[in-house]
């Protein structure tokens, strides 16, 4: 080519192999199981834990989809970092938002 190409940080020299059918079907079954779990737990009164568990299950399902269906588990480090960035930003948004909501105290009326 004549132009020296800089050595990339870390990338596979070959495309990642396609996942096995069993892996994909297994992930799908796990997702359906988590769906059944979250629906079942919604009918069990657990106070504040209901929301926390529902969120945890949703995160687990999202991780399954990202790592297995979207193949991020076997992607290069660059792709993995890129895949995480949007969610990191989301956490910044939620943190700053709730730091406002949770620290609002009613002002006392003027004397």
């Amino acid at each position: 080519m004549g132009v020296p190409v800089p050595d990339p940080v870390s990338r596979p020299l070959t495309r990642p192999a396609p996942p096995a059918v069993a892996t994909l079907v297994g992930a799908w079954l796990a997702l359906l199981a988590l769906l059944a779990l979250t629906v079942t737990l919604a009918h069990v009164p657990l106070g504040a834990w209901n929301a926390a568990l529902a969120l945890a299950i949703a995160i687990a399902k999202a991780l399954l989809i990202v790592l297995v269906f979207m193949h991020v588990r076997h992607a290069s480090r660059l792709t993995q970092v890129f895949s995480a960035l949007g969610f990191v930003w989301l956490m910044v948004l939620f943190s700053l938002l709730m730091s406002d909501a949770l620290t609002r105290t009613p002002l006392s009326p003027w004397p």
């Binding site: 190409v5 996942p19 949703a58 989809i65 660059l78 895949s83 909501a101």
Partner: protein, 214 residues
């Protein structure tokens, strides 16, 4: 077993080889998906704020939704993601016809999701739960429950638009896959897959926060 890139396999300049081109395509698609995270993030933030302001109102609103129908819809979308992943896999292995079949299956399930969504919206309409347009007796006296439904319709409406666009993308991808010379080294189907899985992830979060608040 990794698929070796052949010496002399063509990759477009400025890419060094097909593997790097594939990696660049995936990373770029993730940049786009990050902007989509930001788009939906705004809706989720609004939800977070208003639910924190009145959790009981959100629970009341959520109870008015058809949770069994929402559960079915979630299962439909999760299965469509499986079909999409199988389509991408088949294409990567150079199997054009199975890939097209799985793409069609994904599209059918996507359309089924939209049909069920339209059905549930219609059901909410007849029960007077659509804010502003049809604020009947059901919501007029409960402004905070009405607020829940504002968030509900914006969130599910925006998501449904994305599913519809995804079905369109599947059709375009399928048409192109039918004509491409070497499906085994064709990136676009994987990128369409990334988009479809992302739309699925959004629903995975929307479902419990809308339908399962108690």
């Amino acid at each position: 077993m990794p698929i070796a890139s052949e010496a002399g396999a063509s990759a477009r300049v400025p890419f060094a080889d097909p593997a790097q081109q594939h990696e660049a395509a995936s990373a770029a698609m993730w940049v786009f998906l990050s902007t989509e995270v930001m788009l939906f993030g705004g809706v989720f933030a609004a939800y977070l704020w208003y639910r924190h302001a009145d959790p009981a109102a959100f629970a009341r609103g959520s109870a008015l939704l058809d949770a069994p129908l929402g559960t079915v819809n979630t299962a439909v979308l999760l299965t469509s993601s499986l079909a999409m992943a199988l389509a991408v896999r088949a294409a990567a292995l150079g199997r054009r016809r199975p890939a097209l079949g799985w793409l069609a299956g994904t599209a059918v399930l996507g359309l089924a999701f939209l049909a069920i969504k339209l059905l549930s919206w219609r059901h909410e309409w007849t029960r007077g739960l659509v804010p502003a347009l049809h604020a009947g007796a059901a919501l007029a006296a409960q402004p905070r429950v009405e607020l829940f439904f504002v968030v509900y319709f914006i969130a599910t409406g925006l998501h449904a638009l994305h599913v519809l666009a995804g079905v369109g993308a599947l059709a375009v991808t399928g048409a192109a896959l039918a004509r491409v010379r070497d499906p085994g080294r064709w990136n676009p189907i994987e990128l369409t897959g990334l988009y479809w899985h992302f739309v699925d992830i959004v629903w995975v979060f929307l479902f419990p926060i809308l339908y399962l608040v108690r």
